[in-house]
Point group: C2
Chain length 342, copies 2
DNA sequence: TATGTTTTTTTACGCGCGTAAAATTTAAAT
DNA sequence: ATTTAAATTTTACGCGCGTAAAAAAACATA
């Protein structure tokens, strides 16, 4: 290594004995040059460690090798995990992911889209805020940049959506709860995205099908501090004895975590055994749900599948060009995760 | 808005009536032009929405407006929170933060530094892996890019370090635990960074000072799956009745969360009241610690202060240039957070 | 060896903007 | 009104690389 400092591709062409245009081709796609020249380049690369100036590279390329990854709320480990998987898969495919979090704020989401647009990314993997998203801004963005939505859909926008099949996953756990004890009520908060709405609907359908009255409790509070809402509203409801059932299916795990804290504070034992006053279940299999007290029964989203499919879909889109095909939607099934809370 | 599509600064100069070099100045620093011209520009900007090509901008600028933010493990909400604060403060100061997570892997951390270097950032806010960091790679990086370390220090590298004063925070909670019940033992895992070591030392010192035997339990397991380690090792220790004290001070909250799960599973009631078999305390005031069962007694890191100071320090560094000054180190005090677990 | 095909080299231009220098205008101060 | 300082315009060049076109070289095939 070392020897002379290489300042640009011109100099690297000199010392490697390969012409600059060929080098340019190589750095754009290593497989686009003959193997013999490729090895020559890579040998020189080991000796002199040179990296082309990314700014000069991207300036005239119609398409960069950048992939934008946008999640609605990064402080949620669920999205952190998803982001991590998406990042890695982009990296493996030779792209450069850049990660953004909207932190639950519309303004931030719009700013991200703006700054993203000016980076001319090859494509974007977009987990939108949902209800709080600025549809107009998102539409405009998607017209310019190939976009795959995950987690939450925005109808009619973007090239594809990959998510979970709430109409499969929710009945799954409703069935389980009904056959193992008192039929559940549904505990939700102000819906932040379409998933929340679908889960409520799916709950109602499933309960109807089983011949039970579907009772939904809507907690006050909004934003992305789900645990807080679950806790505070849980406390209130317990105090007023307003839970219509001792079995509570929460719209998501984070809400359930908050509710568990409330139950604990109120001395209500949660679980299935005798001596338990309540059962609490969630949805998503949040990374921390294994460590709640008691461990949370929930239905796991297949986020491996979701991330893989999202990335694959985007790459196909990028390689084949946007051929005006209809938006594709892929939903993965959830798996019941039985733990001690219900 | 709209009318004609502006393709570059040249065209924007035409329609705005401002010369291109002045526009260039404006986009680099809006305050560097006369207010009258500034308003002219901003009026035109509202009409025609034009954004200079970032790649062309950064190509020849010696210094970009980019700030790298690197955290060791983003799936940890503690770091997610820190990252969020850092991001926002960079944004507010007119810089563009780009976020990276090393996901606990040295290779990834090195890759990040590599890709970061090629982006010529104005500076980097760096939360290193710690023990797993590649000192040589980090040193090399810091020679090229102004770097402020936070959370974990790497001695002798970078321009500044901002973190918590473990030798204040740990005695704080040790004192509390000792005066409110049985003196604690210290539960740690393979240290991932200097903080872990310092906390152990601080524990020993504090116990010595109070005239108690300082007993440390080292859990097997490494990596960043702290809850898992705390849970599994906790189970083992409880089964074998090897906890030397019924009061356990954990090296951090995530470990404590795992231990709480183990206690719950083993039917050990945690808390201070009568009828409680154990007391468990943590360190950091992790965002989820409020929602554990029971809520976790811990000592809060002042991450507001840490992030603010980190960003301020970096900006000073950037503006004043690196004048070979000695590395500065700032430590903030922790605050005792008494909840029900101890 | 001759032929056709693929790859590389040579040459040359352009991208969009930074920036330096000199000329000019504007604002502030006397 | 005059002087002085500061900001802006004009002009011009350069950054590092993408990329197109034509010429040359390398390879494949018969």
């Amino acid at each position: 290594m070392a020897e002379r400092k290489i300042r640009n591709m011109e100099e690297f062409a000199e010392i490697s004995g390969i012409s600059r245009p060929t080098l340019s081709k190589y750095f754009n796609d290593p497989d686009s040059v003959r193997t013999s020249t490729r090895t020559k380049i890579e040998q020189a690369l080991e000796q002199y460690d040179f990296r082309p100036n990314i700014y000069a590279m991207n300036q005239n390329r119609k398409m960069t090798k950048t992939i934008g990854v946008v999640v609605p709320y990064l402080a949620d480990p669920f999205f952190a995990e998803i982001a991590r998987n998406l990042e890695r898969q982009c990296l493996d495919a030779g792209y450069s992911p850049i990660l953004f979090s909207s932190h639950g704020e519309q303004k931030l989401e719009n700013d991200i889209l703006d700054s993203l647009r000016s980076q001319k990314p090859a494509g974007v993997l977009f987990g939108p805020l949902g209800r709080a998203s600025d549809r107009g801004a998102v539409e405009k963005f998607c017209r310019e940049v190939p976009t795959v939505f995950f987690d939450a859909n925005i109808e009619g926008v973007g090239e594809a959506f990959i998510g979970s099949d709430n109409f499969q996953s929710v009945p799954l756990i409703v069935d389980y709860l009904c056959r193992s004890g008192e039929p559940p009520c549904f505990f939700e908060m102000q819906p932040v995205n379409p998933n929340a709405n679908k889960r409520r609907k799916a709950f109602k359908q499933a309960m109807d099908r089983l011949g039970h009255e579907p009772v939904v409790i809507r907690a006050d509070g909004d934003g992305w501090g789900f645990e807080e809402v679950g806790y505070k509203e849980g406390l209130k409801l317990i105090e007023k004895r307003q839970f219509p059932s001792s079995t509570v299916l929460c719209s998501n795990d984070r809400l359930a975590i908050g509710l568990l804290a409330a139950c604990f504070e109120k001395g209500l034992r949660v679980g299935l055994g005798s001596g338990c006053a309540m059962r609490v279940a969630g949805h998503d299999d949040h990374p921390f749900s294994r460590f709640t007290c008691p461990p949370l029964t929930t239905v796991a989203q297949d986020y491996r599948a979701i991330t893989s499919k999202s990335v694959e879909t985007l790459f196909q889109l990028i390689e084949s060009g946007r051929d005006g095909a209809e938006k594709s939607e892929t939903l993965f099934e959830g798996k019941l995760v039985m733990r001690e809370s219900a």
